[in-house]
Subunit: 347 residues, 4 copies
């Protein structure tokens, strides 16, 4: 029985989640885990899981001939160089989203992967969620007919820490990028044009960093469909994750997942508990499924469920949305290279 | 164009509702209304509606040759004599439920109606409700297959006034009688045996009058199906009216009607407004429909949607339930005549 | 007891509905009804309702001194002249939406009403709907906090007849105008800027008349909130009428009304019946309520629930949306006068 | 770090599930697994999980000094002797439900456990389910007030194999026993009297073995509350698992869990996917939680969530229900010993 030997780069929250999920898979072995802040704490954590090697040196992962695949879970700015190095070392790669904040660099990373003939899966975990998979299925099997209108709602229960706002890349690249991928995933169509509107309605800290906390983006797809995404950094009732695809033969709408189905009736009204709290809880099963499918793709040499190009396309749409918001006009994805250069010149 | 000329006996809450609903029907004219407490107030009320004649004398309604049909909305103890008189006077009759507290008298009233060849509709308003009609339809068109289990929930928002408890006839005859009729209506089958359990959990006043405020009754139908009805005199969240029919090919479950569809999400949870308040509001449209169908049956000489026998059968089941509760054993509907006589002897 | 004497202009579908709803109101009398095609059929219809006078001559309504208020239910192009004439004749006015296709003329009509000191209510019936009133209430009483995102979905079960497409004024003026009013109604805030995207995805007949059948419009409100409206001329599952307001303290979402609450479970899945069919059925109670409130405002000299200015504002937004769609850029409501003139010059 | 060393008796479906769930727990080690049909297949299965010892001999589990606790997952008739042996060998015990078909033997097993001062947890997995835990919580924290009415629905998607019907112990002992435990669990009150009605509506094979396939049982609780349970061996729409507790301050109702939240709207109606298929899928998380809590109770010497007495009480109620169904009269739990002896004499 073949085993995929894994090295994990980055032992933050998401790196540890992937590690725990990988440990459940029979044909997987975690060989080593690296982190800038590796030390006794990480060692203890690793030991409890039978992971023998911890290190501060990324290179000890990349250069290790006993490692078949790496999980890149370090900060976004390290993704591209690590992908290139890992690809050149012949490792398969799972990389968290976004690949980078810079579509030229993302494209370079993808090119390196292509040349090395390794596999690269991007961490768009929502593609593996029971609800959103069902939407895609109902579009693909024709139940809703040709998509006409796509609506995606994605609202976080709480804004990120102010320190993170500064380096997040902004709402479009940090948060809505998931929804751009979802739009492509559920429709099976490319986005051609976007128009973005944003506002600072929750916390002025977003304005301080040239960011917004509330945004609506409309999309025009290559198959003629229209779409709209709304994001908020703060929904007091909890994590709000919905999608609706309306088409010529019907529609499918996803409601939130709740921790239970209890309907509580009192003199005040009819109540149910708030949706599942946040992404780690809400997408717990999707995270498990995404690692599982990555490992299966390696074991059976099957196509990946999310490829490098999916990461690149979502980044392009995010960039277009950001520019649209700044220029207050619709931006075509096809304009991105040119606008991108202008933006660089202006900066 | 033929017109049905109506006399209303009893100008309480329900009599006035029927009057208002009749006024909306083009081929209907209300000729007179009688009430024990008729006076200037009723006269003003009638005048505002173009009803010319008000009286304290029931006989002025019964004997009036210009009246085709009477609505009997007076107290339950007057129903049987009024039905008999009206039938003998050749009037068609709409009578509120129950016909009487005494199945022998109810049977006599029905016999008088049969002999006079007039029509008698009983006020089982719920048969005309959009939800329950849909249940019956789905049973009759075979969607749920053969019924196996029927569940009926009926809970009032508040107990009746203590004075009423004394004369109500008890929970089975006063409140659950609607559900016994519903059980027959949705299944299209007769009840053969009942077992009733009751408790005084809300207010000791019920115990003072030999009554209960909470009850569960199981039913065995002639087609083999089983059923259960639960009643409570007080549901703090409002009027609770649900039915479920489970069968060999599926099930249909009715949820409550609400005043709006708003889903309100706050930091406390996900809330919706309480169900529609009580029967006058909840069954407003059903009351309109029941008068309309009665008038149509007269105009077009069509079979009635609820006949005298429906009233009698529901009363028999109510009586069986009451006896079952007292004897703490299942009671067959077939035992009723004998048990009924014993009860009379004991009393 | 004071009575409002009504004249109805236009005996098409909506004129007849208003007539029937007015007939239910005790302090209202319909004196006359006019229609271009008045004849024996209309006479019979009127006679059955006790309306004594029918005519082809609008002027017989306007000039009749026994009429206090007129309902203008004739074709859109007649609204402005009729409003002006009726106002000058001292009649109160109920006018169907839109007042006109031309904001300058609409403004003139409003000015005539102001000068005549009569009341003018616009037929935005959805403001009187149980669901949407509840949304407004929850915004106004602070339950959802400051509005951040407003989402309105409005989809018809079937496209209008091709002949109507030609004269409809286009999706923004004919259909989405209700949603523009709804956006103002639920938020209590003015729209400052719109961006509209449309597509012809259902039937090429829309393209033939320079119209679209599917549209998404984003809104920026003066209080900083963002909004989005989506319209489709054809939803196979029926009339789809939803609103969501998301704010700093929570959100309220309206789901569709259904003809019953039955949940039907079979081997195929869990099903419920389609939403209420179309606007006449879905907004039946709202139409009743809108006439009732209009009459009450006249009887008690109270402010109207929808005024002329509400009609004008919605038309301005509709025009801005139409221009945005043509220019493929966001359009500020403040730009309308200038753009409007340019458009006239170009035409 | 302390570790609980486990032996599993019975490697059927449920034994393997418990094994897999135990393997996920860090402080647990599965030492051996026994099965009547142990052989190469089981060896391979065990090897893949790092379980070194498989055997046909139950005694190799019971007598193994390296085993702290046993999971009894063999056929019901072996439970009592195995519990007694394991208890006498000083092992803690997890035993599947029912402990036995004979309440005297069950009581003996519990007594052996008591004398040996070991822990015995019964496999009432539903107590660990997210939905039902929430019901109990809302009763215990007073949200619903004093319970008045408890309603439990439990319907299987498909009847068991005819061979199983013969040895199942009947619907009350095999299937409804879960619901009897649920009734005690959610109310925190004991059942005092039951009345059971059953029918053979699905398959005559049940009649052949003196069993029924459809049943309704009403309950009277010691705190005065009333309850009703309905069971069916075949719900074509899938596994139906609902509970409702109605009390003086409100009610809580549990709806089914579904594989996704998709609402699919087509020309046919509004549809959602059927509930989760059957108990292994539906209660997957509950099975994990039940082993986890058992292990925690051992590690921390904490009270168990389900004890031997819970098994005994549920069996008593099941026996009372069976007798009630046969005698067609309500049966008090207090009558069981006497009725039980009569039954034995009759047999």
């Amino acid at each position: 029985m073949k085993t995929i030997r894994i090295g994990i780069i980055g032992a933050g929250r998401i790196g540890k989640i992937h590690a725990d999920n990988l440990l459940r898979l029979p044909q997987t072995e975690i060989v080593a885990i690296s982190d800038l802040f590796a030390g006794p704490e990480l060692e203890a954590w690793a030991a409890a899981r039978g992971i023998r090697h911890t290190t501060k040196q990324t290179n000890e992962i990349i250069a290790n001939p006993d490692i078949d695949a790496v999980f890149i879970c370090s900060s976004t700015d390290t993704h591209v160089p690590l992908i290139i190095q890992a690809a050149q070392a012949g490792k398969h790669i799972f990389c968290e989203k976004p690949v980078s904040m810079d579509i030229v660099q993302t494209a370079e990373a993808i090119e390196a992967v292509r040349q090395a003939r390794v596999k690269l899966q991007i961490g768009f975990n929502r593609r593996f969620d029971h609800n959103f998979k069902r939407v895609r299925e109902l579009v693909q099997n024709g139940t809703v007919g040709s998509p006409h209108i796509v609506k995606i709602t994605s609202r976080d229960p709480n804004p990120p820490h102010p320190d993170y706002v500064k380096v997040s890349g902004g709402i479009f690249m940090d948060m809505m990028i998931h929804d751009f991928d979802m739009a492509r995933f559920v429709t099976g169509s490319e986005v051609e044009e976007v128009f973005a509107q944003g506002g600072v309605l929750i916390d002025p800290v977003f304005a301080d960093h040239g960011d917004v906390d509330t945004a609506i983006v409309t999309l025009r797809f290559s198959n003629g469909a229209l779409g709209v995404i709304d994001n908020s950094r703060k929904a007091v009732y909890g994590y709000d994750q919905r999608v609706e695809v309306f088409g010529s033969k019907g529609s499918v709408a996803i409601h939130n997942d709740h921790p239970n189905t209890a309907e509580i009736s009192t003199a005040e009204g009819i109540m149910r508990d708030k949706p599942m709290n946040f992404f780690l809880e809400r997408y717990n099963d999707a995270y498990i499924e995404e690692t599982q499918q990555f490992i299966e793709s390696l074991l059976e040499d099957k196509p990946l469920a999310v490829e490098g190009n999916d990461g690149l396309q979502a980044e392009k749409i995010a960039l277009a949305a950001k520019l649209s918001s700044q220029l207050n006009r619709p931006v075509k994805i096809g304009e991105i290279p040119e606008l991108y250069n202008q933006t660089l010149e202006l900066a």
